[in-house]
Amino acid sequence: MSVAVVWLTIFVLSVFVGIEVISKVSSTLHTPLMSGANAIHGIILLGAILVTGTTDNTLAVIVGLVAIVLASVNMVGGFVVTDRMLQMFTRRKPAPKKPEASN
């Protein structure tokens, strides 16, 4: 099989996985899901590391380092912010100062 077709196959299958896997998400989770997906594409950091680490052209290295900084902001910030958001969402207050409330 030609490489391009292999990659196309992987691409198509990933499209299905991507859609099916989130197709049951409730609207409450839209924002954290967006943010988590955003963190996942921070994996471009891996690409940035690879291109920077395999070149010796000074300008390329500098550009590569900038890409690394940007990508790590994306990745790390993305996961941390998503976690903070989800902490909010799932926190059950241990015991509010609610007195003898009904319901």
Partner: protein, 464 residues
């Protein structure tokens, strides 16, 4: 690439799938996010261990580590400091830098291709061009959305004559240059494509009204995913391909879901302004007669009701009145009144806005009822207290086929015995259309800033 590296990458890709799967359910969401983070960390550690180009280890390791440290510090700092209500702009910013990084990586890859004589398959070159352009679009677009939401610039649509022409022109030139790049790769073409992408990103997002921005963020997020996928193809790296595609596909689907929940179409959001009409409604205040009352009157209504439902909306966030609201609810509950919050999926200006806001004010999760769950209870309810919401209870969504919100599911506040609206004026909500419910005989208006009014109401209820 040694086989074990490929297997590790595959494992990381699986982590990302599991992450998305986890993130789509409330119970598994946090674990999902952590699995994704673990996969990302493992994938990024790999190139430091094996020999990427078959012979030598990675060059410039110290510099790379410093760059990662800087980025990580920045990311953590931003992520920790941001307030809950500023989440959308934070996500936009993170998305933008990711897009920028993808564009830079593609430029470097182009540089590599050019320096070995420009001999690459056309599909690789096309993917490179795609990544440069779309990554730049995502970068510029996200920065503008950030500026809009952070109120560094006006959040109204920015439109100028000739915008459609500029828009179309940029697109055509970008396509022509991409074709040129595929035919004979040159560095300058790549750089110009990047600049065009930046311009295009600006032109795409400037005309979008501030409140539509969450949709646009989600769309740009999907864009960045696709650029990462294309970058993965260019670099021959599966984990980038799979991760990027996952984000691209799920992001696109999520964008449609979100737009749908607001009863809007993505095309309308993006190109509505270009066609001349603003994406926001008219926003004029009506002068038809309504019944208004003071805090004391409303306090009596609430204080002696058996069942009250609170409908929070955008105004609650604007007024930052969530804590006062929670206090009021607690006092009412202490009096024996049954009180629930009815959460409309698109109340506020970002999906889940009300959940985040009320969670921050420590409202117990159990009291937040989703629309489907509570909609049948309105008819047994004595008083509905609408705090800074408007569109989400507007019956026009059911009755007026021409209305911009027609077809959007709404909370059936109109079925309750009494409705109290807290707002500052008669101005309409986000959709810019009048709300007939305001003029119903069962409706009472309590004018004023939500925080202010809630404070007065709280005192009045306590004094009962």
């Amino acid at each position: 690439m040694p086989t074990w590296v490929q297997l590790v990458y595959l494992l990381c890709a699986v982590c990302f799938i599991l992450a998305l799967k986890g993130l789509s359910g409330p119970k598994t969401a946090r674990t999902g996010n952590l699995i994704g983070a673990a996969g990302a960390v493992v994938a990024c550690v790999v190139p430091f261990i094996y020999k990427p180009n078959g012979v030598e280890h990675l060059h410039h390791v110290p510099l790379i580590l410093i760059a990662i440290a800087i980025g990580t510090a920045g990311g953590v700092f931003g992520a920790q400091r941001v307030q809950m209500t500023q989440m959308p702009q934070m996500v936009a910013l993170f998305n933008g830098v990711g897009g920028g990084a993808a564009a830079l990586v593609a430029l470097l890859e182009l540089h590599e291709i050019v320096s070995v004589g420009g001999d690459a398959p056309w599909f690789t070159l096309a993917a490179t061009a795609f990544t440069i352009v779309v990554g730049s679009v995502s970068f510029a677009g996200s920065i503008v959305t950030f500026a809009k939401l952070q109120e560094l610039m006006t959040s109204r649509p920015v439109i100028f004559p000739g915008l459609p022409v500029a828009f179309g022109g940029t697109a055509v030139v970008a396509v022509i240059l991409s074709v040129m790049l595929v035919n004979s790769p040159h560095m300058w073409i790549g750089i110009v494509l990047g600049l065009l992408g930046l311009v295009f990103g600006l032109l795409l997002v400037l005309p979008v009204g501030g409140a539509d921005v969450p949709i646009v963020i989600s769309l740009l997020n999907a864009f960045t995913g696709l650029t990462v996928a294309a970058g993965g193809y260019v670099l021959g790296n599966t984990v980038l391909l799979v991760a990027g595609t996952l984000v691209g596909a799920s992001g696109t689907f999520l964008t449609l879901l979100m737009a749908n929940a607001m009863g809007r179409s993505v095309a309308n959001i993006l190109f509505g302004a270009l066609k001349g009409g603003s994406t926001l409604g008219a926003g004029v205040a009506s002068d038809r007669p309504v019944k208004s009352a003071g805090p004391e009157d409303v306090a009596i209504l609430l204080g002696y009701a058996e069942k009250v439902i609170i409908v929070p909306g955008y105004g609650l966030a604007v007024a930052q009145a969530q804590h006062t609201l929670r206090e009021l609810v607690e006092v009412l509950q202490a009096r024996g009144t049954e009180v629930d919050y009815a959460i409309h999926p698109v109340a506020g200006r970002m999906p889940g806005h009300m959940n985040v806001l009320l969670a921050e004010a420590q409202v117990p999760y159990e009291q937040l009822k989703e629309m489907d769950e509570i909609n049948s209870e309105f008819k047994h309810t004595d008083v509905v207290l609408v705090v800074g919401a408007n569109d989400v209870v507007n019956p026009a969504a059911k009755t007026t086929p021409g209305a911009p919100i027609y077809g959007m599911p709404i909370l059936n506040a109109d079925e309750a015995k009494q409705v109290v609206f807290m707002k500052r004026s008669m101005r309409p909500g986000f959709a810019g259309i009048e709300n007939e419910l305001l003029f119903e005989p069962t409706t009472t208006l309590l004018f004023g800033d939500a925080k202010d009014s809630l404070g007065k109401l709280l005192n009045a209820v306590k004094a009962l």
